[in-house]
Symmetry: C2
Subunit: 338 residues, 2 copies
């Protein structure tokens, strides 16, 4: 029921997803009277869907704490509950991010050893895609939490991007060991030491993200969120400049028509819908947040990712990788306390 355009987008996305994933079935939570008409001409899809009525919906601007307290009859609560009850393997929503995280933490629980879940994003790079996390779940982050993020990002990259031994970098203001705040320096010290199916590359800088220097970029949620939105803003500005430069002259317009195939390629490479969604990592279950403004293509990408995550067993991989660092983490906490 969430997102800027409501359930119509979700149903259209299910139509795409149904073809891509023939064995997947869908529970659709929401207001029956609004949902049923949307399936009226989609008999094939309806055969794979079960509609579960929920009388209420979380508002996009609702405070997470209020949604958590009053939201037991909402579609969002029910969707997460179906994961908690093992009726569903993943939950996907285009609704209120904070409420989705609060309800997911409450109902599914956080994995043992993880302080706070993180939100990961897929980021287009020169070489393909990288995983960046945290992009907004936490505003202050300790060294131990950055290490958690590295483990979760590495497990995700192996499971969903299919990399055997992903490279991992810590986002910092310089590549030298002496640079940065205490959290990144502390996390680097631990990550150099751990034995995990990843290759720790040390510090990376802002321009290394789109350069594709590493498969997994680890950062705190404050910096990660700002970096992500700064990159989106920069891409939008450049495409705006490009369009207006081409429109300004007759030659520009002619050239644009002749080279239209090339511009389509560029737009496809930068299409935010291809990498739509915030991936919640660190929960005892899979939850994916689609952009509120996503269309059917974008929401279908979020579905793809969620299905891939469930199939690849991301959660159990994170659990087993966390076991590999827990000894080192407790030594760190001991050192910090002493």
């Amino acid at each position: 029921m969430g997102g800027d355009s409501g359930p119509g987008v979700v149903v259209a996305a299910l139509g795409r997803s149904m073809l891509r994933h023939p064995s997947v079935r869908f529970l659709v939570h929401g207001d029956e009277s609004r949902l049923k008409p949307l399936f009226a001409k989609r008999a094939k899809l309806l055969a794979r869907v079960e509609i579960r009525h929920a009388a209420e919906a979380v508002r996009m601007d609702e405070k997470p704490s209020i949604a958590l307290r009053r939201g037991r009859n909402t579609s969002m609560w029910h969707a997460i509950q179906s994961v908690q009850k093992k009726e569903a393997e993943v939950a996907i929503s285009a609704g209120n991010t904070g409420a989705l995280m609060a309800m997911s933490m409450f109902q599914l629980g956080v994995l043992p050893g993880i302080e706070r879940p993180a939100i990961a994003a897929l980021w287009p790079t020169r070489r393909g895609q990288s995983v960046v996390l945290d992009v907004g779940a936490n505003v202050g982050t300790s060294a131990a939490q950055l290490v958690d993020f590295a483990v979760m990002g590495e497990a995700f990259a192996r499971a969903v991007l299919g990399l055997e031994k992903p490279t991992v970098g810590l986002l910092n203001v310089g590549a030298e060991d002496v640079k940065g705040n205490e959290a990144v320096k502390g996390a680097a010290g631990i990550l150099r030491d751990v034995t995990l199916p990843m290759e720790f590359k040390g510090f990376v800088e802002g321009d290394d993200i789109s350069g594709g220097e590493v498969d997994v970029v680890v950062t705190d949620g404050f910096t990660g969120n700002i970096a992500l939105k700064t990159a989106e803003g920069t891409a939008n500005m450049i495409m705006h400049f490009l369009r207006s430069a081409l429109r300004r002259s007759l030659l520009g317009r002619i050239g644009a028509v002749i080279a239209s195939g090339a511009f389509r390629t560029l737009r496809r490479k930068l299409d935010p819908r291809a990498a739509n969604g915030g991936i919640f990592l660190g929960l005892n279950g899979v939850v994916v947040k689609s952009h509120g403004g996503a269309d059917a293509l974008g929401f279908a990408s979020a579905l793809d990712m969620a299905i891939d995550m469930a199939r690849a067993g991301v959660v159990s991989r994170i659990v087993s990788d966390l076991a590999g660092v827990s000894g080192k983490m407790s030594r760190l906490e001991g050192a910090a306390a002493s």
Copy 2:
């Protein structure tokens, strides 16, 4: 003597700057035996230049603390000293940023009431240019320091961008009051309250920077540095994708030739050389850092900015604006201490 290409770039930039600023004279500090030949065929320029011999130069990879201790015979030390002795009004270097900041703080001193100087950058936006600070001088920043940055950025925007009452925003992960860490929330509380020649717009997000939502974007040096490099990396990636998409087909190549004027316009808009340089704010004097990789055009832009700053009296404007917030700041510090 600094930068990736050495003093040849600086001398070529002085040739450009001499024409733009007919009344400006230049002190050039460095190894005489290397500098003199560069002026051999530039009699007109040499008439406006005084070469000051410095036997040594700070290395690009030298630790700032070491440069500060051992660097009294370097060209960088001498350049800053000439500002301290009032022989020059501004110092410009393409050398080691950390060493330049350390030597500037030591020789010129920090303005009363300022805890740490900041590095500001000019950022291309849809609407023109904005000032973003801090982009790298500090890794941890308090609410009071963010307020300092707002005052310094506002004074810079009035002096150099010629705005009467610049708009100022605090970079955050959301526009709502409850979002963000303690530093940004505390700074917003003070900035809403101060009476200064600026209009405080509250929180802005990463995509608002290139959107040109405000004239001055205030952030801590860790986030600001990463945001700046992320934007540069994104711009480079898109231009790379655009070039390779156009090259891939014959139609793409033909279209690119026909629309070449439009592409030149785009490149000019995004040319990092037009906004080259880190502006050191909060010192008792004007110091500008050119990118190490700048060419003559880029270094000349840094010279333009430094000359504008000196002419407009940025330092004295900051001093008088700081007086306007000092009462509120001490109340804040009292509140924090109690």
